[in-house]
Symmetry: C2
């Protein structure tokens, strides 16, 4: 293990700048495919550009693509209000933009939830006789509220989850679930941040998370910024460190959680859950309420996105396999609910049996999904 006490060379905690910033008509995002080498900011000025950025994982993470999708629809609303010759035409253009955005990535429910929620808001306003220009203005506010609500939800997740982590333990996490995956602060990484601030955490084991390497590229960058000690490992090493007794808890995010608690998350999550069970290590899933999908009864109802062979055949553009190697590249897997110790949500911790706890969650008031308003 190389210099395991080292956390950063700067001596200071890095300021966390927002990676998503919006002003009417322009969504600015940090291009996450370029990190940690380059900090490149993209200006997106149409729903199509936002959809492409989501598809290409320039912005990724279930809550973050929900927020980006909402802003994408807000941009479409401004443009459609100018071009439309009737309220119905306006809604039709908006529905097209929503479809483009929702189709960008199929597994994370937050994207469809956010975009569909805003579209329903627009329909409601139009039905109430509000003119398209005013509806567009309203959607700018709705998208900003959704963004702010997500940051607040992450803070609540962090505070709810931190006491669960065994005191002074090492925690293993997968993929990136921090600032870059959310409006800010993070889900699983939010819990890690809160636990670190409470002095309850020793070290984070970070799975590199092939193929897109969100752990190696993004989680390390965020932990460096917060001066939280970590050790980067390849995905195949997690079991070794569990067997050695080095891991006190596993905590991951989620892309979609079914009504029974089955959880879709970044490929590799399921293996961690099985390994955690084998070693009697608690396995936590941290996610806002927007990640729970009441329409999916079990994990079998969750579509699993298959991404391009190129992501497996190459790393950052460098070939690592024969050019025509047959490849499978499911971006997510499903962890059955029975492997999950608890869900950590913005409405508190859910313990088994999950079906009842999740059903009760859907009826909660404070941060109810926009779709619930329709």
């Amino acid at each position: 293990m190389s210099d395991p006490t080292k956390v950063s060379d700067s001596g200071q905690t890095r300021e966390r700048a927002p990676h998503i910033a919006y002003e009417p008509g322009v969504l600015r995002i940090v291009d996450q495919t370029k990190l940690p080498g380059e900090l490149d900011v993209l200006s997106l000025t149409s729903a199509g550009e936002v959809a492409s950025a989501i598809r290409e994982m320039r912005v990724r993470g279930a809550p973050a693509i929900g927020i980006a999708g909402a802003y994408g629809l807000a941009i479409a609303a401004l443009q459609s209000a100018r071009k439309a010759d009737s309220p119905d035409h306006f809604l039709g253009m908006l529905a097209d933009a929503a479809q483009t955005l929702e189709a960008a990535r199929p597994t994370a429910v937050n994207l469809a939830w956010a975009v569909h929620g805003l579209l329903n808001e627009a329909k409601r306003h139009v039905n109430d006789g509000v003119p398209p220009e005013a509806v567009a203005v309203q959607l700018q506010k709705e998208a900003k509220t959704l963004h702010a609500d997500d940051i607040a939800a992450c803070r609540r997740i962090g505070d709810a989850g931190a006491p669960l982590l065994p005191r002074g333990a090492n925690v293993l996490t997968h993929c990136n679930t921090g600032d870059f995956a959310t409006g800010g602060y993070g889900t699983a990484l939010g819990v890690i941040r809160s636990a670190w601030r409470a002095g309850a955490l020793r070290r984070v084991y970070v799975d590199e998370t092939r193929p897109a390497l969100q752990g190696a590229r993004l989680t390390t960058y965020e932990l460096d910024g917060d001066r939280i000690p970590y050790t980067l490992i390849t995905d195949g090493m997690a079991g070794h460190f569990m067997r050695r007794g080095d891991i006190g808890a596993v905590i991951v995010g989620a892309d979609r959680i079914a009504a029974n608690g089955d959880t879709a998350n970044k490929i590799g999550t399921y293996a961690l859950a099985v390994l955690a069970r084998e070693h009697d290590i608690p396995f936590y899933v941290a996610a806002p309420r927007s990640t729970f999908d009441p329409d999916a009864q079990t994990g079998d109802d969750i579509p699993i996105e298959e991404r391009s062979a190129g992501e497996v055949r190459a790393v950052q553009g460098v070939p690592i396999a024969p050019a025509d190697a047959p490849v499978a590249n499911p971006a997510f897997d499903v962890t059955p609910a029975r492997y999950i110790t608890a869900f950590i949500t913005d409405a508190g911790v859910l313990a088994p049996p999950f079906d009842a706890a999740i059903a009760a969650l859907g009826k909660a008031g404070a941060a109810a999904p926009a779709t619930a308003k329709t």
Copy 2:
């Protein structure tokens, strides 16, 4: 899944050229770090050069580094016989070369077994009054015999293991255990080859095997050459495909097997064993008798090599993490014997209880290790 039926674009089975070739004083090896992009042959003309090539994984795989180590000592014997002013001086120089070679990689027992075996042969000949020049000639033959014996052992492993694989099943393997990891044919990949020839195999799932990507770079290359259908996956995907019922058996090689059956193999193997157990999938370890270490009572007695942080922080020289990211890089893990369904050896299949079967193996005659002759 991209074009899963495609196996190669050449239409022909590629001829398997030997990746290790020896003529007195010169060991020629294919540089495995350059594959599959470049087929580069290195000429090594000293034990030090051979040790460096082993350390840098230009030649790797437990049986293959045993063979390379034996040839390295054979080169040292030729050179030392010319330089030494006494038989004791000759043996001293040879012992130094053996130490250099054995230190190159600590986990695979085959290297120490081969080098130590040849050194003991040399001592025996010198004690019998054979002059150093003649001893050196004898060691050339011994090294070639060891190489030929390994190929023959792999063929026996393949034939012994093929009937174990469920007929028409997909088989998952890890790392590279084929031509490149052995004298030729392979251990786990030898079983896969034999099963394919018997028409008993459907497809191979190939773990890419981070950090050094032996699966993505070498196993795919060999399977392409033999036109055996495969699907390359990242290491985190294995559990997903097991849960879907796509995997009928897991078969891996070994770097060192303790007297109780605990098995050190490429990092990530242990996770596969746990996942296989969880899904009631048989988990086989294929290895020649030279991989069994009677001096290791359990896995706790097996040293685990820690390799450089750079292997994790970068892929093929391209950075994928912050330059100073703290990293762990154990090259191997230990799979406890209880997860192993059977060992497939050149002396047949060993079923549990392994301790008795392994002890009996050590007493077998035909291909007894060179050390047993001393």
